[in-house]
Symmetry: C2
Subunit: 423 residues, 2 copies
């Protein structure tokens, strides 16, 4: 026999049943919180047209996407690929079904997405994302920005995390307005890029990068002061107003940030939120509120959730303006880092409630009846009919089940049996 | 703007939220029954090595498989593909993790599989399969054959189907023994093929096909009589014994069929099962028990579930003998046909329990508090902050929610509000 490598492809999560149960548990908690916040569940196909998936994408996405081809076909002609996130299929979905949906459309997708990234520890090529989005038609009130963040914070609140979680919130209009005020529009991309990386590189490198833009030391200093602004709503709004920026976009951004954080404070999330000018969430796409969740005591873990407001969900597919706000928990990576850092208790409970152990095959029928009764009550119950020696059956039962019920001749006769707790 | 086609690729299921809720409901019922029967949930990667996925496959599977390539690569070199069923990844999983699993390994996988079939009504290229399998190491008692069938029947029992379901059961050893007895070993493949298609073609075509084998009219006649045998356990076992076949394999098959059906009768499934010699489930793979579920009042729908016993799960990956028995519900197709034929009630309940409608933005904070209280009780509650006119808000709320709570100035003042049932 030729020896075949049976490990999964690197970058693919594959869990043993006990860890899978922990993963499923987290997923269920998330989906239940999403449901309680009134998000409707949909599923979009994993495979979609390249024309759709790559309508906007470029750069890394285009390089990382998995195209699909039937064996007989050539890759050159591949016009189908696997979705790399939930947002692009959602855009197609909303445009396709626009007349059958009620807006604002509160929607959740929970499923696997696929990117052919270079494999490395803690990065996945197949990964679950748990998204919430609210899509408006024409306009969308700012309330939904706070609703999305509150929903995601509520989800994290159900995990039993052993460390606090912090939602760091910003509004892209603030930095856009600042850039306009300082007449730096031509350097927008570069400045956002530097801010976006400001946390990952040394402070002197940030200064260096800004100096290299040739925008003058005065403006470099002002930007440096700006990106350091963070803290409570009140404090940040005050410090931003103190900058004396008179740009309308800037002011609108501060007002929106104030409103979103104010709503979250009133809803009891004051301790879990912080305004932070370092949060920009990449260069494109987001146009208003942006946020990122971190575990402050574990800075190495980085972002565990993120999202924001976008002006237009589907500008590539329709002329109808569809503003939205959304966020996503990257569950596969999150589960991996929480487990690695021992930040959640993976249940050590046995996966099955009852094992019914017939002493000989003659008791199987009765054992099955006992199991049926337990299942009818909602318990999980399995009959151990392994054909092994009795001691081996008991060992197997004790490994998998919380409780055991041995069925011998006398139990069948008397119709009475004992329930034994396995340690 | 270039007009882009926003429909999903044909053969991909894409549901509106209400239908999705019906689908999710069915999936949850299935997974809950599987759990209660003690099957452990695992997930295998969607993408796997071609070496694994195509180790055994040939024919249609090889033609229908989706290979995946990163954009830069050529299809020729593609060595990864999307799984087309759960069984092949399960074989890899069991071999890879053999030392960490307890055998018999009762396992379930519920997820999407992918086949690039020619698209046609009611056939899907992405489809959910809900599998249960029991894998033994070295040997596996016949009890598990009945356990798999009972589990699947229990799952169908939760759907609220408006028509009965029938599990048609056979054992491949019976027909194998018969073929040996009649010295037709060289024609095994052809005979099984004819039996496998016997229901889909006219009776005279079956006779014709058998005559074409040149096996003599006597044996044709005997085979024809044999394939017509079906009915209750007692009747079928009697009629099979009456054939006077003395082959050991045949006798073992009859004995196993008798045992599996006997266990199912004792477990209360007598009305839902029938022995049927026409069931062979294709040519390869299955070696003992085989079964197929049908809706007898809707013969056009065909099989809604199937499975059987296999001698060796992973003969391509390991020399360890891993006998198993399993079955699968093709949920995407099942949901489609049940809906098309109006055989299940898709809930007409509103997807959200409560809509909280602030009269103006000033009441949003209070509305959010009301929503939070309802969510804490497990209800789903959303605040309608749509910025629309009040009448439009009410219409939107009534579309989505079962109950509405209007929050105006006086409600905030008095801290009292009314709950209105939407019709």
């Amino acid at each position: 026999m030729k020896k075949i490598n049976t490990s999964p492809i690197s970058g693919m999560q594959e869990l043993l049943p006990a860890a899978q149960a922990g993963f499923d548990n987290l997923k269920k908690k998330i989906s239940d919180v999403y449901r309680r916040h009134g998000y409707l569940h949909i599923e979009t196909p994993v495979i979609d047209r390249c024309e759709i998936l790559l309508a906007k994408a470029g750069g890394d996405t285009e390089k990382q996407i998995y195209k699909v081809v039937k064996t007989a076909e050539a890759a050159d002609g591949a016009d189908q690929a696997m979705r790399f996130d939930h947002t692009v299929p959602l855009a197609r979905y909303v445009v396709e079904h626009e007349n059958e949906l009620a807006f604002p459309f509160k929607v959740t997708q929970i499923g696997r997405n696929f990117r052919g990234e270079r494999a490395q520890k803690g990065r996945f090529r197949e990964f679950y994302q748990c998204d919430v989005d609210v899509i408006g038609r024409g306009s969308l009130p700012i309330y939904y920005d706070s609703d999305v963040i509150a929903t995601l914070l509520d989800a994290f609140g159900t995990f039993g995390l052993k460390t606090p979680v912090l939602a760091r919130i910003n509004n892209r209009k603030i930095v856009s307005g600042l850039i306009k005020e300082y007449n730096l529009d031509l350097k927008t991309k570069e400045i956002l890029g530097i801010i976006d990386h400001a946390e990952k590189i040394a402070p002197e490198k940030v200064v260096e990068a800004l100096n290299e833009l040739g925008i003058g030391s005065d403006r470099v200093e002002k930007i440096l002061q700006f990106v350091e602004i963070k803290g409570s709503r009140e404090e940040v709004v005050r410090r931003l107003n103190d900058l004396g920026v008179e740009d309308d976009t800037f002011e609108e951004g501060v007002r929106e940030l104030d409103m979103v954080m104010g709503l979250l404070e009133k809803a009891g999330f004051g301790k879990n939120i912080s305004a932070d000018m370092k949060i920009v969430r990449g260069l494109d796409y987001y146009t208003g509120t942006v946020f990122e969740f971190n575990l402050p005591e574990y800075p190495g873990i980085g972002s565990v959730c993120g999202g924001g407001r976008y002006e237009n969900l589907a500008s590539y597919f329709t002329e109808q303006k569809l503003p939205g706000v959304g966020g996503s928990i990257g569950l596969t990576r999150l589960f991996y880092v929480l487990k690695e850092n021992n930040l959640i208790d993976i249940s050590t409970e046995k996966p099955i409630d009852y094992a019914i152990i017939p002493v000989t095959d003659a008791e199987i029928e009765y054992a099955e009846k006992v199991a049926q009764d337990l299942r009818a009550e909602g318990s999980s119950a399995m009959v151990v009919a392994s054909g092994k020696k009795f001691g081996d059956k008991m060992k197997y039962a004790g490994n998998l089940a919380a409780k055991g019920i041995v069925i011998g001749e006398s139990e069948v006769q008397s119709n009475v049996y004992l329930v034994k707790e396995f340690k």
